[in-house]
């Protein structure tokens, strides 16, 4: 009984890591790649660690697995946030089919402060749009 549960959980974990790695290849722009990779790998590694914790009836293995999952959940979103922010600062273009970009022109160009209201930001509106026009620009 417990073997079947373990098989199901570890299969889901491995599949999500596999889809994340296919996603790195197939996604059209940087933000979508980041978006696909970080979450799926967190879920996959977490599920595999849970499997290891159930498999070995040992307190030290369980506590280590819980600690690793805890630190993974704390650190992975922050890493994704910082990478995404740095990418937006340096002007990495969005995909050409991007629907809306409400962050556009909200940064103060000199101080890098971010405004929360639209009318405050209008005075430092930048002219160039960050969304790519053609397929080649995102490559």
């Amino acid at each position: 009984m417990i073997d079947i549960i373990l098989a199901i959980i570890s299969t889901i974990g491995v599949l999500s890591i596999l889809f994340a790695s296919i996603g790195i290849l197939r996604m059209p722009d940087f933000y979508l790649r980041l978006s696909v990779t970080v979450k799926a790998s967190t879920l996959g590694v977490g599920l595999l660690l849970i499997c290891a914790a159930i498999m070995f009836p040992d307190v030290s293995v369980t506590t280590k697995a819980i600690a690793i999952i805890f630190f993974l959940i704390i650190t992975a979103p922050i890493a994704a946030h910082m990478i995404g922010r740095a990418a937006y600062f340096t002007g990495t273009p969005l995909w050409k089919d991007t629907v809306i970009d409400e962050l556009e022109g909200m940064y103060n160009e000199e101080t890098h402060e971010l405004e929360s209201e639209e009318d405050e930001a209008e005075k430092n509106q930048s002219t160039d749009r960050n969304i790519a026009k053609t397929e080649e620009e995102t490559e």
Binding site: F19, G23, S35, P77, H81, Y88, V99, D101, L114, S116
Partner: protein, 158 residues
């Protein structure tokens, strides 16, 4: 609030010591038992918040896991099929959460849900900017997140 939690931990530690098996399912069972005992003992007390909050936290964990798995299946389907179904976009999201801890937890939850990625938070801590993969309409996305994830999270924290 914190007093009840410490008492609950103490009761479960006593349960673990008496039964003698240091396995985590035994600890969880002792925690449930201690929660039940505390609930019966404090039926006439005025401060009942702890006993509402623990079931809310457990239901929130299950709700969050359900959301993560559902969104993961959607993203995985989109990755393996040849056509792209997504409509990405960056949305401005006005925050109800006010303290740093609430904002931190909310953005962690949002970042862990597939399809949404926090790009940045404004300097006055009133809005966050989210990169969404499946964006039909910015207003519907903001409304769904407000009534779903943020309301449940703030109900636990406040």
């Amino acid at each position: 609030m914190i007093k009840y939690f410490l008492m609950n931990l103490l009761l479960s530690a006593i349960w673990v010591a008496l039964t003698g098996s240091m396995y985590y399912t035994n600890f969880l069972f002792g925690f449930m038992l201690g929660f039940f005992v505390l609930w019966i003992m404090n039926r006439n007390e005025l401060d009942q918040r702890y006993f509402y909050r623990v079931p809310k936290i457990i239901s929130f964990i299950f709700y969050f896991l359900y959301q993560v798995i559902k969104a993961n299946i959607q993203v995985a389907f989109d990755v393996v099929t040849p056509k792209y179904f997504f409509k990405p976009g960056i949305v401005r999201y006005p925050l109800n959460a006010s303290t740093d801890f609430e904002i931190n937890l909310l953005s962690t939850m949002l970042s862990l849900t597939p399809g949404t990625l926090i790009i940045d938070i404004s300097d006055d801590k009133k809005t966050i900017y989210i990169h969404v993969m499946y964006l039909t309409d910015p207003e519907t996305f903001v409304r769904q997140t407000k009534t779903g994830l943020e309301r449940r999270l703030l109900a636990i924290l406040r």
